[in-house]
């Protein structure tokens, strides 16, 4: 499996290089949107030094971490997911069904998106700087890293669930952007939202927990929500796998 993944990664690189110009532009836009978030954050905090106990550096930590999770997902999975939607809609999965490997993981890891790597490395660099200033304890740092990994898995599961829905619904292209919107709406301190929304997005669909928890570990405020969000992520992954199996059955019986 490792060998197959290595080949898929090198093929992704080869494809990226054949569309160099597009790749460079994509990387630049990623940075552009991050800069806009920074400027907007700067505007917020030019009126007040803290918001619900978050100062500008904490806030930076929050949005940078949220971006880090999002770019990690993009780098590792987004191209595979885009490809999968096309394959499902074009009815092109037949060959995948014939391979002696697990098709769920094969499609999930089919491509890595190298243009996102540029923005990913940049974001990781900035986040390292922020963490050096925030100085989390080693244990909290570990919690931070674990929370980021859980975050990537969560975003992956959400997208996988939405993408696989293409087995049943087509023509709803706007649906694919839903997880992205959810995650970007969640890249804010949870407390700014009304209590009901907070409860909903911390506990039921814990997208706020996914972004807020690692940031909290970063400034030494560990939270048990990490365990809960990990659990929910596990359930979502299971759900996406079940959906995939159902989808394949539907694919073969209706195609």
């Amino acid at each position: 499996m490792v060998k197959i993944y290595r080949i898929l990664v090198s093929q992704s690189l080869a494809e990226t290089l054949s569309y160099r110009f597009t790749a460079v532009l994509t990387a630049i836009f990623g940075i552009l949107f991050y800069v806009i978030e920074l400027v907007t954050g700067g505007v917020y905090f030019s009126f007040t030094p803290t918001i619900y106990g978050w100062n500008f550096l904490d806030y930076l930590n929050l949005i940078t971490t949220a971006n880090l999770i999002s770019y990690l997902y993009q780098f590792l999975f987004v191209a595979g997911h885009e490809d999968l939607v096309d394959q499902i809609l074009d009815g092109n999965l037949d060959y995948s069904l014939l391979r002696p490997v697990n098709a769920y993981w094969f499609h999930a890891s089919y491509r890595v998106d190298f243009p996102s790597l540029v923005t990913l490395v940049l974001t990781a660099g900035i986040e390292t700087g922020i963490l050096l200033k925030l100085q989390p304890t080693p244990l909290n740092l570990l919690g931070y890293l674990a929370a980021v990994i859980v975050g990537v898995a969560f975003v992956f599961a959400l997208n996988q669930i939405v993408v696989t829905a293409a087995f049943w619904i087509d023509g709803m292209t706007a649906l694919d952007g839903l997880p992205e919107y959810l995650m970007s709406a969640s890249a804010r301190p949870a407390k700014i939202y009304p209590r009901l929304l907070q409860q909903l997005f911390l506990w039921v669909i814990p997208s706020l927990a996914i972004t807020n928890v690692p940031a909290q570990f970063g400034h030494n405020r560990p939270s048990w929500l990490l365990a809960w969000s990990a659990l929910v992520t596990g359930v979502l992954l299971g759900l996406s796998y079940w959906e995939w199996r159902r989808g394949l059955l539907r694919y073969v019986s209706a195609n």
């Binding site: 080869a14 092109n92 060959y95 069904l97 014939l98």
Partner: protein, 321 residues
């Protein structure tokens, strides 16, 4: 007959389609109570294939031959009847050990990565099928040489001609040396010389390695060139099974020959009618020998003995349910 490598026993399969209701209330209704409709694609088909055999599946578009291939390869589950390939009775379970022993080429779908050279896809397949490196190198060199595409191995797929692409699709299906090769419409849309090349190669492969080949086609040239035995599928049912010549013998109109000569005959023998300058119809039922000088004959055909004509006639017939 030796132990068959494929046994299809009274197999049936239907597709499920959903009827859509119109309007907003209809869509809402559909969301919860959709009208299922079953469309039979394969009905009660039985067939056996011996190891090393080349079997042609003939049928019009939508006749059910591709569905039959998908059932055999385990893409589709068998709904009724039973099916055994090699020693596996449940292809749909897709055991890796089973999948490694079959090779499939579906003409309407591609397994080549569009922006990369074919070699990249093949290397990926090498790892997926766990082909040893040295075996892979030798076998690939042989395959590309035989199909005359060695020079295109490192050219991005989007820059290849259709014929070259089809040949690489074929190589993809063969790279792990399967015991059974399934080809769905292998020569669709490619030029005559590429077709000839593929025919020659497949015959040689079958002869040298005893690879069993199942091919579907509505191109009768494929069948004439390759198939040792054919099964004709129409509206999901098997309506004929036997040799290509047996098919012609069964369906060609009896007892009329079409003869073409190099020059018009000076005198017209009995039971011979002229249709054009040097074309004649001979009523074979009334004669024991051909009353035309063999030195002047260009060709002799059984009237309606052309496979294309026979199939056109067969496929246009409605089969009673």
């Amino acid at each position: 007959m030796t132990e068959p490598i494929i046994t299809i026993d009274h197999v049936s399969f239907d597709y499920v389609t959903y009827t859509k209701q119109s309007g907003l209330s209809g869509s809402w209704h559909d969301l919860f109570h959709r009208q299922k409709q079953r469309v039979p694609a394969v009905q009660n088909v039985s067939l056996q294939v011996a190891p090393g055999e080349i079997l042609g599946l003939l049928g019009a578009n939508g006749a059910g031959k591709t569905t039959l291939i998908k059932l055999m390869t385990g893409i589709l589950p068998v709904r009724a009847g039973s099916l055994q390939l090699l020693d596996d009775q449940h292809p749909f379970q897709k055991r890796p050990a089973f999948l490694r022993r079959i090779g499939v080429m579906l003409s309407q779908k591609s397994q080549l990565a569009w922006d990369l050279p074919p070699l990249d896809t093949l290397v990926l397949l090498r790892e997926i099928y766990q082909v040893p490196h040295d075996r892979f190198t030798d076998w690939l060199a042989f395959l590309t040489d035989q199909l005359a595409v060695t020079a295109q191995l490192k050219v991005p797929v989007r820059k290849l001609s259709l014929g070259q692409r089809i040949k690489f699709e074929l190589i993809c299906a063969l790279i792990h040396t399967p015991e059974i090769l399934f080809l769905d419409e292998p020569t669709i849309g490619i030029d005559v010389s590429s077709q000839a090349n593929i025919y020659r190669f497949l015959q040689q492969l079958n002869r040298d390695t005893q690879m069993t080949i199942i091919l579907t086609s509505h191109n009768t040239k494929d069948i004439e060139a390759l198939a040792q035995r054919v099964a004709v599928i129409n509206h999901g049912r098997k309506i004929f099974e036997g040799t290509p010549n047996g098919l012609i013998a069964q369906y060609a109109s009896a007892a009329t020959l079409e003869v073409v000569t190099d020059a018009p005959l000076t005198t017209l023998p009995a039971h011979v009618t002229q249709v054009a300058d040097s074309q004649y119809l001979v009523d074979a039922a009334a004669l024991t020998t051909l009353p035309i000088d063999p030195q002047h004959i260009l060709s002799v055909h059984r009237r309606n003995g052309n496979l294309d004509d026979i199939l056109t006639r067969l496929f246009s017939q409605e089969v009673a349910p």
